[in-house]
């Protein structure tokens, strides 16, 4: 919403700006302050054609000219006016849940934003990343290809195009540019010094966001060399998103670099906004609250690296996996969208924005942080407790579990 026209969404204002014919009508959804106001409001208004009155909420579908929209805006009973937008099937469940598709409708897809995934490498041949892996480096000595599957999955959550699923498993920022640092071996393990190399390399590439779905055992106090490296990246204006860890629900289980003070530390929740049992809990060894926020991290379907079996494979191209690792690239992708919208946002401002607009899940701060991130609220910097509902795209139905035999057949076919 705009400060000077608080009842109109940004998208609607842009649509109005592009209209030259004063008689042209825009489809709208108008929210009244109460159902009684809707019932009371029945009189004709110049430039406005009324349509269906919804009964679950005080919404009315309308068509209106720019003059008509101004008249609606002046009506004290009208609280908000949205454009009526086309809907389509989006991804799985997590992105509609945190309202990422509404940012896509604002043409925010991460285009031109450089994101580093520091992990087990990537499947360079996966079509979901075609043309968007800008550079890659290997710090394990095994080559940058992904023989584990974790890095490919995380990169898919950040920026997969969903090409092999008709967009069904599209990532948060599907047009972002990917920089891949391989710091974990095929067994998913590595050393802190490898991760430090990966971060330095990413900084040298000029990335704007770093996604770290890895960590050591907790607790820690944020003073170790890996944490300091993350802080140094932040000081250079790079957003650093870090997984809290999977050692919950025991307290004091956030490890390095999740315990670094300045990074955005992400815990995992389900699509029903329940904190995952495995999600690591704070406080840090020196008593600070962590994680900072939570995001979906349970049974997330995203890109699968060839010849890997991490998670529960859905087909040749996608697999379902759980962990704070899966929640973290949701945050990294969203940061890419917000940076596309507002390129001057600093890491501190991004972290602050995501935290203050998060939805309080009424859980302990050392489990949920500030709450569950909501992409639309973060974009609009909406901090009120009441979430103004916008027209929601209809989520695509969940894929049918193909069963073990089908998975085996798919694997065999791919190997052939």
């Amino acid at each position: 919403m705009q400060d000077d026209r608080p009842k109109l969404s940004r998208r609607l204002l842009r649509s109005m700006d592009s209209i030259e014919d004063p008689a042209a009508e825009l489809p709208l959804i108008v929210r009244y302050s109460s159902r009684q106001r809707v019932m009371r409001h029945g009189g004709p208004m110049r430039g406005v054609r009324q349509g269906y009155r919804y009964h679950l909420r005080p919404f009315v579908h309308m068509h209106a000219t720019v003059q008509g929209i101004a008249a609606l805006e002046a009506d004290p009973d009208v609280s908000l006016i949205y454009p009526d937008l086309p809907v389509q099937a989006y991804l799985d469940a997590s992105l509609p849940h945190i309202r990422v598709p509404m940012l896509w409708q604002e043409h925010l897809t991460g285009q031109g934003i450089r994101v580093a995934v520091v992990d087990t490498g990537i499947d360079f041949d996966h079509p979901d990343f075609a043309g968007r892996i800008i550079d890659a480096a290997d710090f394990t000595g095994a080559g940058p290809g992904d023989r584990h599957g974790h890095g490919t999955h995380c990169a898919g959550v950040v920026a997969g195009s969903g090409a092999m699923s008709d967009g069904h498993y599209r990532g948060v920022a599907p047009d972002a540019e990917l920089y891949i640092a391989k710091v974990l071996r095929a067994d998913g393990q590595g050393m802190m010094s490898d991760v430090m190399m990966g971060i330095e390399w990413a900084v040298d590439q000029g990335v704007q966001v770093i996604s770290l779905s890895l960590g050591g055992p907790g607790p820690c106090d944020g003073t170790d060399a890996l944490c300091e490296t993350c802080e140094a990246a932040l000081e250079r204006g790079i957003m650093v998103c870090v997984a809290a860890g999977n050692d919950g629900p025991t307290p004091y289980t956030v490890g390095s670099p999740g315990c670094a003070a300045g990074v955005l530390t992400i815990g995992a929740a389900s699509d029903l906004d329940r904190i995952a049992t495995f999600s690591s809990r704070g406080p840090t060894a020196d008593g600070r609250t962590k994680p900072d926020v939570v995001l979906p991290g349970v049974e997330i379907i995203a890109a699968r690296a060839a010849a890997t079996v991490m998670g529960t494979p859905i087909d040749d191209w996608y697999t379902a996996a759980s962990g704070t690792s899966m929640a973290t690239p949701h945050a990294a992708g969203l940061c890419a969208l917000l940076l596309q919208a507002e390129p001057d946002l600093t890491p501190l401002e991004l972290k602050s924005r995501l935290m203050r607009t998060a939805i309080d899940l009424d859980q302990p701060a050392n489990a949920q942080g500030a709450g569950r991130v909501d992409a639309w609220r973060a974009y609009t910097d909406e901090t009120s407790d009441v979430v103004a509902p916008e027209p929601q795209p209809v989520p695509a139905p969940a894929p049918q579990n193909p069963g073990c035999l089908a998975i085996l057949a798919a694997l065999l076919a791919r190997q052939e």
């Binding site: 584990h148 393990q189 802190m192 330095e200 900084v203 779905s213 060399a225 300091e228 996996a321």
Partner: protein, 86 residues
């Protein structure tokens, strides 16, 4: 704050010939410090310019020698990390 965690110092004392993977934060010119470390037999694996730090592999005895150098700010274990998804 001590240069080395107590547990690491004790491990180096108890096992002076064992090999340790460590991260060493230093003051001054990173390249020069790396060369000095090599001079006392330390295997310098990587240098990190963001934090003026090196990762090394050395014996416990060499680690204790390093800890006595005034330009060494801190020595800590190069700990394991792992992917956090399954």
């Amino acid at each position: 704050m001590p240069k080395m965690p107590t547990s690491l110092r004790a491990a180096c004392k108890d096992n002076p010939r064992d090999s340790f993977d460590l991260i060493v934060r230093v003051d001054g010119d990173l390249k020069l410090r790396g060369e000095t470390m090599r001079g006392i037999g330390v295997n310098v694996r990587r240098q990190f310019k963001l934090t003026n730090t090196v990762s090394v592999r050395c014996t416990g005895e060499e680690a204790l020698t390093l800890s006595r150098r005034p330009w060494v700010k801190s020595i800590e274990p190069d700990g394991p990390v792992k992917a956090l998804g399954r």
